[in-house]
C-alpha cells in the first residue's frame, strides 16, 4: 500500500449542550463524531457514506479545518493539523480544499465568477503573481468545462451544474493535493450529476488528486471510490475496498443500507431481499450503550449492549483470505450478499 497522505486517528467532535443563559452549565453533548479513524492514500478516492446525522459532514469540516475536533488527530504528511494556527495552518489549507454540496449557497452572489475563482490567489498571493491571475482563472474555467469568457458573470446566471463546476474550479485554484467533497452532486439533476462525476474523475487523473468523497448516494460512491467507509452515529462501522463493502458486506448496518437502495431494475423487485430496519436513528445526544446500532439490529444480543465492538477485521474472518477480510465493527459479523449482481 502506498503512503498515507492523510491519517485520521480517533477523531471526536462533541457539541456541548448547555443550560442557563448567564451561568452556562453543560448538561450533555451531541456526539456528532465519536472516534473516527482512517487513512487516505495519495491518489485514491475514499468514499464515506451514511445517513443524515451520522457525522460525515462534520468529519469533512474537520478535515478542512472549518471545525476544531474535540479530540483526535488529523495528520497531513505526518504532522497533526488540528492544533495548527496562523501561517502553518494557511499553508496546510492550500493543500486540502473543499467542494461544497449546495451550488446555490456556496458561491457569493455579489461576486463575479472571476473574483470567486481568483479569491484563493488573493488570500495566497504567493501562488500566482498579480498579473497572472486573470489568465489562471480563465485556465481553470476551461479545465472545468466552462467558457473562459464567462469570467465577468455572476453566479445566478449559471445553472446548478455549472455553479458546481465553478465551486470545483475554486477548489482547484491553489493546486491542492486533497479535495474533500461533501455531497458534491446531490443537489444536481440526474443528467447533470453524471457530468460532474465524470469531471471529478477526469480532474483526479489530470492533477493526481486524492479525494475524500462524502455522500449518501451509495451508487455514486461506489462508482467513484476506491475504498468506502460506512458511518453510523458518529463512527465508521465498516471500511474496505469498494467490492469488499458492496459485494461482501459483513456489518448488518451496511447490509441493511445496501438492501434498501432502490435499484433501477423493475425485474429485481420480486426476488430481491430487503432488510427493512425498524425505527429511526437514535439521537446523537443520547447514544445507545455498547454497539450503537443495536437498537435497530436484528442480530442484537446481550453482548451488544455491554461491549463496544471495535472497528477491526472480525475474528471469524481473521484467518480467511478474501473479500470478507476487512474491518467491520460488529460482534456477530457475517457475510451476506445483498446487492444482486447481473
Amino acid at each position: 500500500m502506498a503512503e498515507a497522505i492523510l491519517e485520521v486517528r480517533d477523531l471526536v467532535k462533541h457539541y456541548p449542550l448547555t443550560q442557563g443563559i448567564l451561568f452556562k452549565k453543560q448538561v450533555g453533548a451531541v456526539k456528532a463524531v465519536d472516534g473516527v479513524s482512517f487513512d487516505l492514500v495519495a491518489g485514491e478516492t475514499l468514499g464515506i457514506v451514511g445517513e443524515s446525522g451520522c457525522g460525515k459532514s462534520t468529519v469533512a469540516k474537520m478535515l478542512v479545518n472549518l471545525e476544531r475536533p474535540t479530540a483526535g488527530q488529523i495528520k497531513y504528511k505526518g504532522t497533526d493539523i488540528t492544533k495548527m494556527s496562523g501561517k502553518a495552518l494557511r499553508s496546510v489549507r492550500r493543500n486540502i480544499q473543499m467542494v461544497f454540496q449546495d451550488p446555490y449557497t456556496s458561491l457569493n452572489p455579489r461576486m463575479t465568477v472571476g473574483d470567486i475563482i481568483g479569491e484563493p490567489y488573493e488570500i495566497h498571493p504567493e501562488v500566482a503573481p498579480k498579473g497572472d491571475r486573470r489568465r489562471k482563472v480563465q485556465e481553470l474555467l476551461d479545465v472545468v468545462g466552462l467558457n473562459p469568457e464567462y469570467i465577468n458573470r455572476y453566479p445566478h446566471q449559471f445553472s446548478g451544474g455549472q455553479r458546481q463546476r465553478i465551486g470545483i474550479a475554486r477548489g482547484l485554484a491553489l493546486q491542492p493535493e486533497i479535495i474533500v467533497a461533501d455531497e458534491p452532486v446531490s443537489a444536481l439533476d440526474v443528467s447533470v450529476q453524471a457530468q460532474v462525476v465524470n469531471l471529478l474523475e477526469r480532474l483526479q487523473n489530470e492533477f493526481s488528486l486524492s479525494y475524500v468523497f462524502i455522500a449518501h448516494d451509495l451508487s455514486i460512491v461506489r462508482h467513484i471510490s476506491d475504498r468506502v467507509g460506512v458511518m453510523y452515529l458518529g463512527r465508521i462501522v465498516e471500511i474496505g475496498r469498494d467490492a469488499e463493502i458492496y459485494d461482501h458486506p459483513t456489518h448488518p448496518y451496511t447490509q441493511a443500507l445496501l438492501s434498501a437502495v432502490p435499484v433501477p431494475d423493475p425485474s429485481a423487485r420480486e426476488h430481491r431481499e430487503r432488510i427493512i430496519l425498524s425505527g429511526d436513528v437514535p439521537s446523537p445526544a443520547n447514544i445507545p450503550s455498547g454497539c450503537r446500532f443495536r437498537t435497530r439490529c436484528w442480530k442484537a444480543q446481550e453482548r451488544c449492549t455491554l461491549e463496544v465492538p471495535e472497528l477491526a477485521v472480525p475474528a471469524v474472518f481473521q484467518l480467511l483470505e478474501g473479500p470478507a477480510h476487512h474491518p467491520s465493527a460488529c460482534h456477530f459479523a457475517e457475510e451476506k450478499r445483498v446487492v444482486p449482481s447481473e
Partner: protein, 324 residues
C-alpha cells in the same frame, strides 16, 4: 379511468417573460394503478400535479388549455368551492417536505382529526379516536400516547407517515405523492415507500408518484411517464421501459446513473443542460442534447406516437432508439 389529464398547458408569468411549464401533457391513471411521473428540474412534473390538485398558484401560474377529467367530470370547469370538496375526499396529495406541510402549532392528532371534523362533521372525541386509528394504520408506534404530540417531536420518517395518514384519512380515490421520500434517508425511504404501496393496494387507490429517482420508480410503479420540458416524451409499462427505452432522453437517463452492483468506467452523461422554459428549443425540445438528432428534430415537434399497446414515445426515431 379514474383520472385523465388531456393536453394540459400551464404557463408562469415571471419577471423575465412567460415560462411554459407544461405544454400539452396527457396521461391517465386507473384505480389501483401506480403511475410514476419521472422528470428533472423544470420538467413540469410537479406543476402538472398541482394543476390536477387545484393548488397551483394563480397568478403567476395560468392554465391555458386542456382538461382534467376526474371520475367523469372536468375539474377545470368546476367552481372553486366544488373543487375544494374534491380535495381531501376525492384526491389528496403528499408533499416532499413533511415538516413544512404540517402545522407546527397544532398537535398531529388535532390535524388528523380536523380531516374528519371538517369534512365529515364528526365530534371532537370521535375525530380524535379516528386520528389514533389512522396513526396505528400507518404504523406509528404508541399512537395513543403520541397523538397529542407536535410535528417537531416526530422524526422525518414518522412525519412522512403522518402526512400519508392525513392523505388517506378520507379514503380518496387518488393520491398524488410529490417526491414523498426524497427528503428521507435510504433506510427510512424503504419503510415509507413500502407503507404507501401497501395502503394503496388495500384501498385500491390510484397513485401518481412524482419523482426524479429511477430506482424508486422501478421499485413500485406500474407505468411510467417521462417528462421533459413540459411534455411527456415517453410513456410505458415499467418493465418495458427499463428493458428498452423508446426515447433517447430516457435512454440517456438510464445510462447516466451509476450502478450499485458494478463499478463502471466513465458514466454516460447527457450533454448540455435542461432547457430554459422561456426559450424552449424549436421542434423536439430535447434535440440540442440528443445524440440522434437530425434536421427534422429541429423543425418538427414529434407527436406522441404509439409504439405498442400502452406504450408511446415522442421521438421521430423511436424505432431506431428502441433497437438500440
Amino acid at each position: 379511468m379514474l383520472l385523465e389529464v388531456r393536453d394540459l398547458q400551464v404557463e408562469f408569468k415571471t419577471r423575465d417573460g412567460i415560462a411554459k411549464a407544461v405544454n400539452g401533457v396527457t396521461y391517465s391513471v386507473a384505480a389501483g394503478e401506480t403511475l410514476a411521473v419521472l422528470g428533472e428540474s423544470g420538467s413540469g412534473k410537479s406543476v402538472t400535479a398541482q394543476a390536477v390538485m387545484g393548488i397551483l398558484d394563480m397568478p403567476p401560474g395560468r392554465i391555458t388549455g386542456g382538461e382534467i377529467v376526474f371520475q367523469g367530470q372536468d375539474l377545470l370547469k368546476l367552481k372553486e368551492d366544488e373543487r375544494r370538496k374534491i380535495r381531501g375526499s376525492g384526491m389528496a396529495m403528499i408533499f416532499q417536505d413533511a415538516l413544512s406541510s404540517l402545522n407546527p402549532v397544532l398537535s398531529v392528532g388535532a390535524q388528523l382529526g380536523e380531516m374528519y371534523s371538517v369534512h365529515r362533521g364528526m365530534s371532537r372525541a370521535d375525530a380524535k379516536a379516528k386520528a389514533v386509528e389512522l396513526m396505528d394504520r400507518v404504523r406509528i408506534p404508541a399512537a395513543k400516547e403520541r397523538v397529542g404530540q407536535y410535528p417537531h417531536q416526530f422524526s422525518g420518517g414518522m412525519r412522512q407517515r403522518i402526512m400519508i395518514a392525513m392523505a388517506m384519512a378520507l379514503e380518496p380515490a387518488l393520491i398524488i405523492a410529490d417526491e414523498p421520500t426524497t427528503a428521507l434517508d435510504v433506510t427510512v425511504q424503504a419503510q415509507v415507500m413500502d407503507l404507501l404501496a401497501e395502503l394503496q393496494r388495500e384501498m385500491n387507490m390510484g397513485l401518481i408518484l412524482i419523482t426524479h429517482d429511477l430506482g424508486v420508480v422501478a421499485d413500485v410503479a406500474d407505468r411510467i411517464a417521462v417528462m421533459y420540458a413540459g411534455r411527456i416524451v415517453e410513456e410505458a409499462p415499467v418493465h418495458e421501459i427499463y428493458k428498452a427505452p423508446a426515447h433517447p432522453y430516457t435512454r440517456g437517463l438510464l445510462d447516466s446513473i451509476p450502478r450499485l452492483d458494478q463499478k463502471g468506467q466513465e458514466l454516460y452523461a447527457i450533454k448540455g443542460l435542461p432547457p430554459n422554459l422561456m426559450h424552449i428549443p424549436s421542434g423536439c425540445a430535447f434535440h440540442p442534447r440528443c445524440p440522434m438528432a437530425q434536421d427534422v428534430c429541429r423543425t418538427d415537434v414529434p407527436p406522441l406516437a404509439n409504439v405498442s399497446e400502452g406504450r408511446r414515445s415522442a421521438c421521430h426515431f423511436w424505432k431506431e432508439c428502441l433497437n438500440g
